[in-house]
């Protein structure tokens, strides 16, 4: 029972830590990392991709937050 409570608490903590109030940001960042990995595997430079993806993920989230009264 104690192990179950601890496991549940750890999972909930990680979900909140990673996704927070907007899961789309984590999802877009994961897609960006995947795309960067594919670029590197193909022998192309990928350094330019990550910063715009991170910013774009945050901008779309900010836009939605303002629409929702944030």
């Amino acid at each position: 029972m104690v192990a179950w409570r601890w496991t549940k608490a750890v999972v909930l903590f990680l979900v909140d830590y990673i996704f927070g109030d907007d899961w789309t940001v984590a999802a877009l960042i994961a897609l960006g990392l995947l795309a960067a990995w594919r670029l590197e595997e193909a022998g192309a430079a990928a350094w330019w991709l990550l910063p715009p993806v991170v910013l774009a993920a945050n901008v779309q989230s900010l836009r939605r937050a303002v629409r929702n009264g944030g």
């Binding site: 927070g20 350094w47 991170v54």
Partner: protein, 248 residues
């Protein structure tokens, strides 16, 4: 003492130790010093056990997966603070939160596991990188003792600088601090995740500086854009309210 190995290790380790201290100080100032200390102690404990278990085999250790995981986690969490900082500072101004104790609403009354986790990751990952540097530099010149002293000196000097300057960081208004720490976390997150994917950053470790500048500049620009969006929303709501009143 092999002074060449000492100085090389000191300088190489300093880059990693700066990153380590920056994260621990950021967690301490913005969330909880207790959580920052517990996380750092936990990271050091894991580090000592790992180094003791692996020993010289550390030189061949691949840190790429660890960098990718830690970087991705920092990107996810840092983005939350980055956005909250932009939303609140663009609405209430830079000075908001002066005199507040807490930066974020989600810092719990009890122990702050999130802060401890952040601090733990920073210390464990950067400490492991320092250990790899020590083994690589020390083994190459057969002067492991000088390499250990060089890394320890780096930890003492940078740690003392962090302890001496954290009060200045703490004086920054809380919400602006949340924005800057968010920018710092996504800077480290982008850099480490990229390193984990074997991305070749222009400028090497200097990429941390230009990435940080990029994210802070973007935040300043985004605050203006968010203010514009808010005005648009307010105008639209006023128009809707006027239409509804006219229809009535």
């Amino acid at each position: 003492m092999n002074w060449g190995v000492f100085i090389s290790t000191f300088l190489a380790a300093s880059i990693e130790v700066i990153e380590m201290v920056a994260i621990v100080v950021a967690v301490g100032v913005t969330r909880s010093w207790r959580a920052a200390r517990v996380g750092a102690a936990g990271g050091l404990l894991v580090l000592v056990v790992t180094v003791a278990a692996l020993g010289a085999a550390l030189e061949g250790l691949s840190l790429e997966t660890l960098r990718l995981v830690v970087g991705a986690l920092l990107l996810a969490f840092g983005s939350q603070w980055y956005r909250k900082g932009i939303l609140i500072v663009s609405r209430d101004g830079w000075a908001t939160g002066v005199g507040d104790e807490d930066v974020d609403d989600d810092v719990p009354e009890g122990f702050d596991w999130t802060g401890a986790f952040l601090s733990f990751k920073g210390v464990a990952l950067e400490g492991l990188e320092v250990a790899v540097i020590v083994v690589a530099f020390g083994a190459a010149a057969d002067a492991i003792g000088s390499a250990i002293v060089g890394a320890a000196a780096s930890l003492v000097v940078i740690g003392a600088l962090g302890a001496a300057t954290y009060r200045y960081v703490a004086a920054i208004p809380r919400r602006a601090l949340q924005l800057f720490v968010g920018a710092m976390l996504i800077t480290f997150g982008t850099f480490w995740a990229g390193e984990g994917l074997r991305v070749d950053w222009p400028g090497g470790d200097f990429a941390l500086v230009w990435l940080g500048a990029l994210y802070v500049a973007a935040a300043v620009g985004l605050m203006r854009i968010v203010s514009g969006w808010r005005r648009d929303v307010a105008v639209r709501e006023q128009g809707d309210a006027a239409s509804a009143a006219g229809a009535a």
